[in-house]
Symmetry: C2
Amino acid sequence: MSKQILVLPGDGIGPEIMAEAVKVLRLANDKFALDVELSFDELGGAAVDKYGVPLADETLERARAADAVLLGAVGGPKWDKIDPAIRPERGLLKIRSQLGLFANLRPAILYPQLADASSLKPEVVAGLDILIVRELTGGIYFGQPRESKVLDNGERMAYDTLPYSESEIRRIAKVGFDMARVRGSKLCSVDKANVLASSQLWRAVVEEVAKDYPDVELSHMYVDNAAMQLVRAPKQFDVMVTDNMFGDILSDEASMLTGSIGMLPSASLDANNKGMYEPCHGSAPDIAGQGIANPLATILSVSMMLRYSFNQTEAANAIEQAVSRVLDQGLRTGDIHSAGTTKVGTAAMGDAVVEAL
Amino acid sequence: MSKQILVLPGDGIGPEIMAEAVKVLRLANDKFALDVELSFDELGGAAVDKYGVPLADETLERARAADAVLLGAVGGPKWDKIDPAIRPERGLLKIRSQLGLFANLRPAILYPQLADASSLKPEVVAGLDILIVRELTGGIYFGQPRESKVLDNGERMAYDTLPYSESEIRRIAKVGFDMARVRGSKLCSVDKANVLASSQLWRAVVEEVAKDYPDVELSHMYVDNAAMQLVRAPKQFDVMVTDNMFGDILSDEASMLTGSIGMLPSASLDANNKGMYEPCHGSAPDIAGQGIANPLATILSVSMMLRYSFNQTEAANAIEQAVSRVLDQGLRTGDIHSAGTTKVGTAAMGDAVVEAL
Ligand SMILES: CC(C)[C@H](C(=O)O)[C@@H](O)C(=O)O
Ligand SMILES: CC(C)[C@H](C(=O)O)[C@@H](O)C(=O)O
């Protein structure tokens, strides 16, 4: 039976970079007999324009029925002033939550060909290869109650709730340990257990799960220290596991250490490794429509999809190697361009990967 | 009437670095006729050992009565396994809250003499001078309810609450704008308004306060983006204002950009500029008692105290210049040592500053 992939190009540069990723996926499909079928729909601002909501019920149903979802990026100034309840990001949060995509995997890898792009000294980041495992469907992103109200004294106030249950922590901790096991066998759990009740439970449950992984070296770090250590000596980390909010902050910080966030894919997985795959970067409205965006993070998201959701290791490796080859050839989009390399546009970069594959 | 300063050396390297800061303060007192009187007490682990609690009521009363508090650092492995309710950090959080020290000022300055110490490329950080204004007595650090409990199904869960009121946001926003006005006239407010209700109110109130500061250029940034931008191009920032949790993370990240967190002081102020002053770094239990810790952040905290709480600009400047001079002389503690400079211990560094002053 063929694998169904729902493609959601989204907003801004989303459609442009997705067009290239689809080219690569179609070729890989033929070459490796993957037997995938693509269908297309809208998410975010594009869905607001088409359906009046950032995630239509019928889109959600199609995503549920699919074997994997490939996403571009969402959001843009066009929808900045609309009702907060239907902002583009709401669609993203809803699809994560409704599909139960609790495990967000965000690699921060420095490509040797792009070592110069980092704002950090070469010796600090050379060979960097971190995986951040972020809890994606719980914590303060979804906690209830949350409210904005006017107090009796006439003053406005608003609050959010940061809840975690044992089972939510256990399942993401397991993903962290599993990932560490197939990588460098080191897991750093990040929390703020010296201040937060939820972090104290987090730490306790991670310790319990650790008993099943005696082969993985576990450490704990406070989030403020983790934010420092990522700048000071990022190569001390192998896998980091943390909650939704801390993961949002630290994964963006970590990806920027490479200087080439336009290269980084991500996966959001459910309990059965069904997943949504997307680049780490955003919809970059400032350069949308110009044909200059970097499609490589989206192309590498295709590779992640083949690896994690479809177990197609050979095809996944082939795509990664093709990307590496175009970098070796000196092809660069504007975001990763440096002296002595050849600047190309989105489509030319996609074509080059297709060629290399 | 003489000014009363309560000195709380705290734990780990606290007593060592404080001894040097006190030397400098005593000399400045004589030289500039500051008319300050010092008294000493305990906070954190040292207070647990002496009083059984990390902040004794009588210590709190003395802090209330004082004109300023000078703090070393708190915490250490010795108190890691004790009842969470009396952990050293609790003393710190309590004194902040009880004294109403809502405005935490954390500069991240790169000393030209220490440019090499940063893990970032010189051109990215040369001349860096950011001030982070962190809300310190509200938000998720103190929000109620917070609880750890067992659900009916037997599962453990825990939650924290992140509340902000209009008046809490307004007063910290004002500090941010006031600081921007006497610096580079640029304020970046950091929040997560695309997800959190409290951040939406934060952004709205900051916008309102901005009307009184037409001369300050205000921008808003999501916290994940701020964590990236600090790594990518930190010099884009002048003053940043943010909530307690985000400020904890971003100020540590920002201070590490300089590579010399051992140089950075901080101030925590109440509505009347009464303040507590302390180094940005922690109690470093691993090097405590060895006489090798860097006392300069604590010495510069004295300078901040003279500037903000006592309006003694001349004495404050003199201390900063003395610190700059010992750096020019090539004196370095281990944390900031590099080839071609002279490694000295804590006391020798303190003596050198005294000498330069
Ligand atoms: C767009 C936003 C809601 C989202 C998040 O905070 O999760 C984004 O920053 C991300 O990390 O995917
Ligand atoms: C020790 C800890 C409670 C404290 C905080 O989180 O505020 C520290 O990290 C700080 O930033 O002063």
